[in-house]
């Protein structure tokens, strides 16, 4: 009976190609949309968290001022003494890198490129998880004397030197010439979308003396020891800086302390919300697909009811008719689901490449949307048939 019924079901699918195609189409679109959206969303979340990891772990950033935009409280820049105080008085501190940023144009032969000049120390590379791909970092003497040497990022190398090794060459920045002593390993785009490799790093003193002309420090990058409490370090840091900056008890901080974990949480929760949003939009398309299937099934219900009447009249058992319709619905829905998964996988891989996010296969969403679509197909394909098969054959035959 099963084999015969399976044959009948497959025959019926083949005979009603248009109806079968439309049924499948609804499922294909729905499944493909949901899986693609969710997969890309997951990829984006992964890429954001990867980039945050590349910023360095256990990192605290201290910036002067509080809040951006209107109502912003300006804060005085930090001084070298602050760096020393943080380094000596806060427990759990591994490294403190003072950072000054200036924008300037770097020139090499006929090429010039406007980039961010960062003044800092060797600690900057370590705190920020930077690796030196070629050449070396700063020597202590270079840091102390403020020598005109620099370590450049991959984008700057590309703009000024092409694929050539820049180590040992001289580039000109404003009025002075600067020797390239090292090349940083590329990190790629940051989670905020900026190019992290578009950077020239010099000793702090070099930048202060030759570019900014003062002793100010723009921000502090602080790396906390593995295992030490970041929260404790933050609290101590806040107290210390309030004291050093002579902030009264009822006054707000005029600086901010941020940690990477916090940034990571904010960003990943943002992308997660976006993923959910995309998934919801896609779920609507799955629903629309389902309604499409329902339409097709309802439109064909008259024809199908008469067909059921014919089958019953010539001696089909109710359960044979039902089994045939169930098989038809299951075959069509699963076929649609499988095609949807194939399309979604292809589209996800392609779009992930285009969007520069990793492709992550998510078995959960694949299974979920497959079974959801199968359920839609079975419900809308099977239940009208169940009603018809329960009729007296003559009533089914006379159905108008």
């Amino acid at each position: 009976m099963l084999w015969n019924t399976l044959q009948l079901a497959l025959r019926s699918i083949r005979r009603n190609l248009m109806r079968s195609f439309l049924t499948i189409l609804g499922i294909v679109i729905g499944v493909a949309a949901v899986i693609t959206m969710v997969t890309l969303g997951n990829g984006a979340t992964k890429s954001v968290s990867d980039q945050i990891a590349s910023m360095g772990s256990n990192l605290l950033m201290v910036l002067p001022g509080q809040r951006f935009g209107p109502g912003a409280v300006p804060g005085a820049p930090f001084k070298s003494a602050d760096v020393e105080a943080v380094r000596n008085q806060i427990t759990g501190v591994r490294l403190v890198a003072p950072v000054v940023n200036k924008s300037a144009t770097a020139v090499y032969q006929a090429n010039n490129w406007t980039t961010a000049i960062t003044g800092s120390s060797n600690d900057y590379f370590e705190a920020g998880n930077w690796e030196i791909a070629a050449g070396r970092g700063f020597s202590e003497a270079e840091e102390r004397s403020g020598k005109a040497v620099c370590v450049i990022g991959d984008t700057v190398r590309d703009k000024l030197f092409g694929r050539q090794n820049p180590v040992g060459s001289q580039i000109r920045i404003k009025q002075f010439s600067c020797e390239v002593i090292g090349l940083l390993k590329a990190k790629g785009q940051s989670s905020m979308g900026s190019d992290q490799d578009d950077v020239v790093v010099m000793p702090l003193r070099t930048v202060q003396r030759r570019l900014s002309g003062n002793q100010d420090i723009g921000r502090l990058s602080i790396s906390v020891k593995e295992g030490a409490s970041i929260d404790a370090a933050k609290d101590q840091l806040t107290l210390l800086l309030r004291e050093r900056r002579k902030i009264g008890e009822n006054e707000d901080d005029d600086f901010r302390v941020m940690d990477t974990r916090q940034i990571a949480e904010t960003l990943t929760s943002t992308t997660r919300i976006l993923t959910m949003l995309l998934g919801a939009v896609a779920a609507v398309s799955l629903l629309v697909g389902g309604i499409g299937i329902m339409n097709i099934m309802l439109v064909s219900v008259t024809e199908r009811t008469r067909e059921i009447g014919i089958r019953l009249a010539i001696g089909a058992l109710e359960r044979e008719v039902l089994l045939q319709f169930l098989i038809e619905a299951v075959v069509l829905s699963s076929l649609g689901g499988l095609i949807g998964i194939v399309i979604a996988t292809t589209a996800s891989i392609f779009l992930a490449g285009l969007m520069n996010v990793p492709y992550l296969f998510d078995p959960g969403i694949n299974l979920l949307s497959f079974f959801f679509s199968a359920a839609i197909g079975v419900i809308f394909g099977f239940f009208p048939a169940r009603r018809a098969a329960g009729l007296n054959p003559i009533d089914a035959l006379r159905h108008e």
């Binding site: 005979r15 008469r306 014919i310 001696g315 089909a316 058992l317 109710e318």
Partner: protein
């Protein structure tokens, strides 16, 4: 003619609806039909002839009364048992043909054999033979849409007789056909009655078609008004 009572109806009634709106289509039918007979059921619209036909064909059930088919009390059978009775002993021909659309003549004729679970090779052979018997040799792979009304009815007849049923039930089989085609169809049906001994029950309102039958039963207002053999005086 055989003497065995194939079908025995006693006190069959059929009521549609209930309460005030109840309509009694059959008001107590007693009827005995013997194997090998060819019975035409006639009567005006609403006389209950089609209702009786549907009950005889086990497509519908009577409200009260008893229906014995080959000694089996049909009203005591389950839905599935009635389906099996239709599958194994009955063949149907309808006014509207009732073929599966977009399905070839051969596949339409094969359908009852599939439900009987016959192997593919025998099924094909039997269906081809049946189509040949109704004169549709060479039309096996045409769908109903590609066939004329007369041809579609021939396919329906082939589907009905391919299982060698004991009874062929035909409800206005020529109702949608012109007179020439109608005669061809009637010749086929009476041929199966004569040559294969298939008992035929046919509903018609056309006296010319009833003339092919051996026995004519006239229904009026839910009762049997007259029951006579063709050739006897009315």
């Amino acid at each position: 003619m055989s003497d065995a009572a194939l079908i025995r109806l006693s006190g069959i009634t059929k009521t549609y609806g209930s309460g005030q709106a109840a309509f009694q289509a059959l008001k107590g039918i007693d009827l005995v039909i013997d194997t090998g007979d060819f019975v035409a059921i006639m009567g005006p619209s609403g006389s209950g002839k089609s209702t009786a036909m549907n009950i005889l064909g086990c497509l519908d059930v009577a409200t009260s009364g008893s229906y014995e088919f080959e000694g089996v009390k049909v009203e005591q059978l389950s839905r599935n048992a009635r389906a099996l009775l239709r599958r194994n002993y009955l063949g149907f021909v309808f006014q509207g043909f009732n073929l599966l659309s977009r399905t070839t003549a051969l596949e339409n004729v094969e359908l009852p054999l599939i439900y009987r679970g016959e192997p593919a090779a025998e099924r094909h052979a039997a269906a081809r033979a049946a189509l040949k018997q109704v004169g549709l040799d060479g039309w096996e792979h045409h769908t109903p849409a590609e066939l004329s009304g007369g041809q579609q009815q021939r396919v329906a007849i082939a589907r009905a007789i391919v299982t060698r049923p004991h009874v062929l039930l035909a409800d206005e089989p020529t109702g949608n056909l012109d007179s020439h085609t109608s005669q061809e169809i009637m010749n086929l049906i009476s041929g199966f009655n004569r040559e294969l001994g298939i008992t035929v029950l046919m509903v018609t309102h056309e006296p010319e078609m009833a003339a092919y039958a051996k026995r004519v039963i006239r229904f009026v207002d839910g009762r049997v008004e007259s029951d006579r053999r063709n050739g006897e005086d009315a």
